[in-house]
Structure formats: structure tokens, C-alpha cells
Amino acid sequence: MGGRIGRKSVFSQEIANIDYINNQYKKVSETLHCLVLDVCGAHNPSTKFLPERKFKTGIYLIVGIEETGSIAAVYWNKCYDYLRSLYGTDENIIGRRCVVETASRSSWDIEDGCIEFREGKRNKYSDESRGTYVSLSSICGISQNHEIQIKNYEENQSEGIGEIWHRFEK
């Protein structure tokens, strides 16, 4: 079956227009800068930041929104593996800055919004090519990866300390 948009009948054109309008409503119109305060789900159903809410299923990130000065829950609508393998445990997520893209500033839309951990232009990152590890394997007759080892002895004066998570009492 083909898509409706390519058809030439008046009826299909009308349906295509309705689809287009519906899609427009879903488009992002607000970008909120947030700080992750807590991670809730079946493993952590309640949080002191939203005492009236109980999270029995799914994963919700409790965020403090800079623009509105309020606290909201954002549903993690991506893969759970993605969350845990890329961002780690709850403790490693709490305190990170993030961006929530949402249709409006209503709590319903924010909860349905798309959360992303974007990097800030203000962060000054470290040089990841150096400062990894120093190998003494050549003493035992195992040849080293010289490229990595030489990099370790190079200095990079302009590098920063990287992104540091905010720490606060949970």
C-alpha cells in the first residue's frame, strides 16, 4: 500500500492535510533547560520533589526547569538499555544538565517531551587522547602501543576538566 500523500483524489488530499496539521501540533515549540533531580520508576516509586506522584512503571526523570523554576516529571521514551549503558545508574544521571523539547510548557506536554543530554558550549573538555594509562609492559617483553604511551607524556595546556555533574543532597 502506498502513502496517502502521493494520491491525487480530493479525499486523500484532505486526509493528508489533516495528518499534516496533527503533526504540526506534535512539533517542538519549547526547549527547556533542566537539571535532573531524581530518577523514578518501579525501583524508586516516590520522590521528595514530587510527593504527590507515584511512579510504578516506566522510567521518569524528575527535572528542575530553569525557565519556569518548577519541577516536572519527564517520561524516558527511549530504550532502557540506552539509558543504562550510555548514562549509567541513577546516581550517575542525577545532577546532569539536560534539555527537554516539548510542545508547550504544560506539565502534560513536558511529561511527554523528549529529554536529551546535550553538551553546553561553556564546558571545557579534557583531551581524551592523552592521560589514559601508563604501560610498563615493555619490561616484561610485551611491546607497548607506542602511540598511546607517547600521548601520555604530551601536555595540553588548553584542556579543561570536563563536565562535572551538579551535586546536591537528594
Binding site: N92, E128, T132, I164
Partner: protein, 114 residues
């Protein structure tokens, strides 16, 4: 350096990491990255770092055809020496013995059926 680095956090506070290079894979930690396990095509380098120790938490350390067996009895005074005992431990022989046992039992079963 064509490599991937996995770390809990990409900042200077995070000391541990996993480096996946084109040839070398290394798990490292410590202020200077002196504690590491490095796997390369030439071999494996286990490096506890200066002042650190390498712990193998087992009483049986096995190699091809032998086993080092330590026991708490080693620390009894006078009777034992403080040295690991190296004994022959050939796993394939155990398998052959086990297979022979099964074969004999099967042959016995067939004999009884006949």
C-alpha cells in the same frame, strides 16, 4: 590514536576507564593510569601499579597441566613450609577417565540386554 574510551563520566574526577584501541584493549585506573590490565596481540600485561598488590582470591591457581594449591595449613608453624604446592592437574585426563566410566557402564548395560 584511533580508539574508543568508555568512562562513567568524562571529566578529570573519573580515574577509571576502558580503552578500546585498534589492537590494544586496556582497563585502567589510578591517578596516573598506572593500574591497568592491557590485552594486546603480544600478550596480557597485568600491572597493579606502584605500591599496589595483585590479589588472586582463590586457593587453586590452575595452569596447563598443573595446579598451585595453597591452604590455610601452610601457615601452621614448623610443619609446613610457606610455599605453594604444585601438583599435576591434567583436565583432559579427567575427561577421558569420566568418558571411560560412562563407556564401561554403557557396555555393561548392553551386555545385560543381550
Amino acid at each position: 590514536m584511533k580508539a574508543k574510551i568508555l568512562k562513567a563520566q568524562f571529566n578529570k574526577m573519573c580515574l577509571g576507564g576502558l580503552l578500546l584501541d585498534m589492537k590494544t584493549v586496556a582497563i585502567y585506573s589510578g591517578m596516573n593510569g598506572m593500574t591497568s590490565i592491557e590485552v594486546s596481540p603480544e600478550g596480557i600485561n597485568i600491572q597493579p601499579g606502584p605500591g599496589n598488590s595483585l590479589s588472586i582470591n582463590t586457593m587453586n591457581v590452575k595452569g596447563p597441566g598443573f595446579v598451585y594449591q595453597n591452604s590455610f595449613a601452610d601457615f601452621l608453624p614448623v610443619k609446613y613450609v610457606f610455599l605453594p604446592r604444585k601438583t599435576i592437574d591434567i583436565e583432559p585426563l579427567k575427561d577421558i577417565a569420566a568418558s571411560a566410566g560412562v563407556g564401561l557402564a554403557f557396555a555393561g548395560f548392553l551386555g545385560a540386554m543381550a
